[in-house]
Amino acid sequence: MQAMKKTLMAAAMSAAFAVTAQAEGVSDDVVKIGVLADMGGVYADICGKGCVTAVEMAVEDFGGEVLGKPIEVISADDQNKPDVGSAKVRQWIESEQVDAVNGLVASSVTGAVTKVLTDAKKVALISTSASHAFTTKACSPYNVHWTYNVAALANGTVKPMVESGKKKWFFITADYAFGHALEGIATKVINDQGGEVVGAVRAPLGTTDFSSYVLQAQASGADVIGLANAGTDFVNALKTSAEFGLTETSDVAGLLVFTHNAKALDPAIAAGMKATTGFYWDMDDKTREWSARFKQRHGSIPAMGQAGAYSMTMHYLNAIKAAGTDDADAVMAMMKATKPDDFFARNAYLRNDGRMVHDMLLVSIKDAASRQSDDDIYNIEAVIPGDVAFNPMMESCNFSAKS
């Protein structure tokens, strides 16, 4: 009998809690941002704890509260596994009132997480994922894709190389969503420019021994070996290429190079290599000012996704303030209606498909002699205007037109 009473009590209480405020004001009296990233694996350096720091900095710079309610930041490790990430985000939404998820690195995780977020009508703030799927074939009215994507990398790095006469390409590709997407879109760019792809080989995420892949690349006789991978995968692949003498016989192009990875490479191997990036700390005074603050707290210069995470959080919080609510539909509409403008986002606007279009940078890795400090890695070769770097919007993803 006693147990029965308790059960009924518990049922009644859970029913009472189920009723929540809607639309106006801040739901649950708190704006909660979850940061989901790989905290200890191959992508830990390019987002990880640094993304948490960046989001926390944004919250502090914003004043710690919005519409009179506190802003809270929580974080979790997705271990680069879609099942771990989506389970964590589900839990955040269902039992911790999370309003938006920031970070988001491995494209496979982001794919699973954005589905969960869209079902729950919560905002996905994608900082470091590269796949363009989140604003094309897997687009959603709740996706915001900030820093860069594979289309920008291919348009920025691959196109000029093909135009300069490097026509035959071979790819060493990371075997999951991101690698496939990058290889696919780069192949399209190469074919459009009259080049050809003579072969490709897929290596699993986290491969440490690239020798068999490099030998295949060597045997292909290509002008350029495109490394369609990232993080430590990219570093390992490039080191192996150098050891096998591949860098001397043909060009090796890193399609996605993060500053941390470029820094870890021996300048003798990497000098002169071109890359496309969404952000470089040493661009001007505004980037230097923010990066210095970031370095002081985090211990290293920001990767582009970390700078993106800050910029995106600011824009999200500003939109909540302007909309007067944290209701996802209203916030998304406001984010698209107002233009972000800070040290990161230059000539920027958020398109209706969730793609943030901004100026990208074409950089080349400096040789050892011209480096002023450890962090002095890139020469900025050119600024690529956003509308050139990013592919046009697909009409099926034009969300404001639909709703």
């Binding site: 490790d77 099942d83 771990v84 389970a87 699973a112 589905k115 075997d175 969503a177």
Partner: protein
């Protein structure tokens, strides 16, 4: 009588648990508990260490996931198909594996599981590293909407209880007695005229089908089937769950699964997140060194001694 009371109170507890704890977490525990129970049927009652059991978990998950995604069948049929597929694979793998004993049995099951792992990694229908995402939970019997976590919980609980009952029934049947006889002394079982390999084979099929049932259910709960479920890490994890809880006891795997899943869940968010593997390893070592019969096994010993 005493045992019945225990069962009834546990059943009551499982009915009210989702009011207090997060239902998805409980469903995860139930799925892994069923998986560990299925594994324990082999390890604890036949004495066979299958080191590739994750492949049955994952096969159930992938089959159910791709059917639910592509054909729009109802979840009970999806789960049935996943279970049958895992059972079928178990029949083939079991037939080959039971020809060997001891460490060779473990190596054969591991090797066969790795074969299947690379198939799932490369096959287009599994989505490779992405896994199958956005699997719908669907309408049970076309009537009950499972998208609500509470409804889903009771569905998962029903599946778990069915699996648990089936294992319990198997162990306490004459068939189960023979399995135990094989575990205790295989040559004697042979000399009594039993075709030992056939008994092992049938036990292997039951175990793999139930592991598939757990995987199918898990896929519906998380709406995702991924490589994690077929990876050999998972095969190792289920060994840990079973040993930690108590090999060869009825409730051991359930307790073990509960402990392991709880540790993973609650540590992953905190400062200790990076050390989960180390902590699990340490627990495993302590378990093997200090209490060999696992939590439930030691508890039973204590009860026997003192009461």
């Amino acid at each position: 009588m005493k045992v019945n009371k225990l069962y009834l109170s546990l059943f009551g507890l499982s009915l009210v648990a989702p009011l207090v704890l997060y239902p998805v977490f409980l469903m995860k525990v139930l799925c892994f508990a069923l998986f560990a129970c299925a594994f324990n049927l082999l390890l604890g009652f036949v004495g066979l260490l299958s080191f590739g059991h994750a492949i049955f978990l994952g096969t159930g998950g992938y089959i159910t996931g791709s059917l639910m995604l592509n054909t729009g069948i109802t979840p009970e049929l999806g789960i049935l198909a996943g279970t049958l597929a895992a059972g079928l694979l178990g029949a083939v793998y079991g037939k080959l594996a039971v020809k060997r004993e001891g460490i060779y049995f473990a190596m054969v099951t591991l090797a066969l599981a790795q074969l299947a792992f690379f198939f799932y990694l490369q096959a287009p229908f599994t989505g490779g590293e992405d896994g199958l995402q956005g699997v719908p939970r669907g309408m049970l019997f076309g009537l009950i909407d499972l998208s609500d976590n509470m409804v889903m919980y009771y569905f998962v609980l029903a599946i778990f209880l069915f699996g648990f009952w089936l294992i319990h029934r198997t162990i306490h049947s004459p068939f189960g007695q023979i399995l135990k006889a094989i575990r205790e002394n295989e040559p004697r079982a042979v000399s009594l005229g039993y075709n030992v390999n056939d008994y092992k084979w049938v036990a292997f099929i039951i175990s793999s089908a139930l592991a598939g049932l757990a995987g199918s259910t898990k896929t519906l709960v998380f709406q995702l089937a991924s490589l994690t479920d077929v990876h050999w890490h998972m095969s190792g994890e289920v060994v840990l769950m079973t040993l930690l809880g108590g090999m060869g006891t009825i409730f051991g795997p359930v307790v073990g699964a509960g402990v392991v899943v709880t540790i993973q869940n609650y540590l992953s968010g905190g400062e200790l997140g990076n050390y989960i593997s180390i902590i699990m390893g340490a627990i495993f070592i302590v378990c093997v060194l200090a209490f060999r019969s696992g939590i439930v096994g030691e508890f039973q010993k204590m009860v026997k001694k003192n009461f």
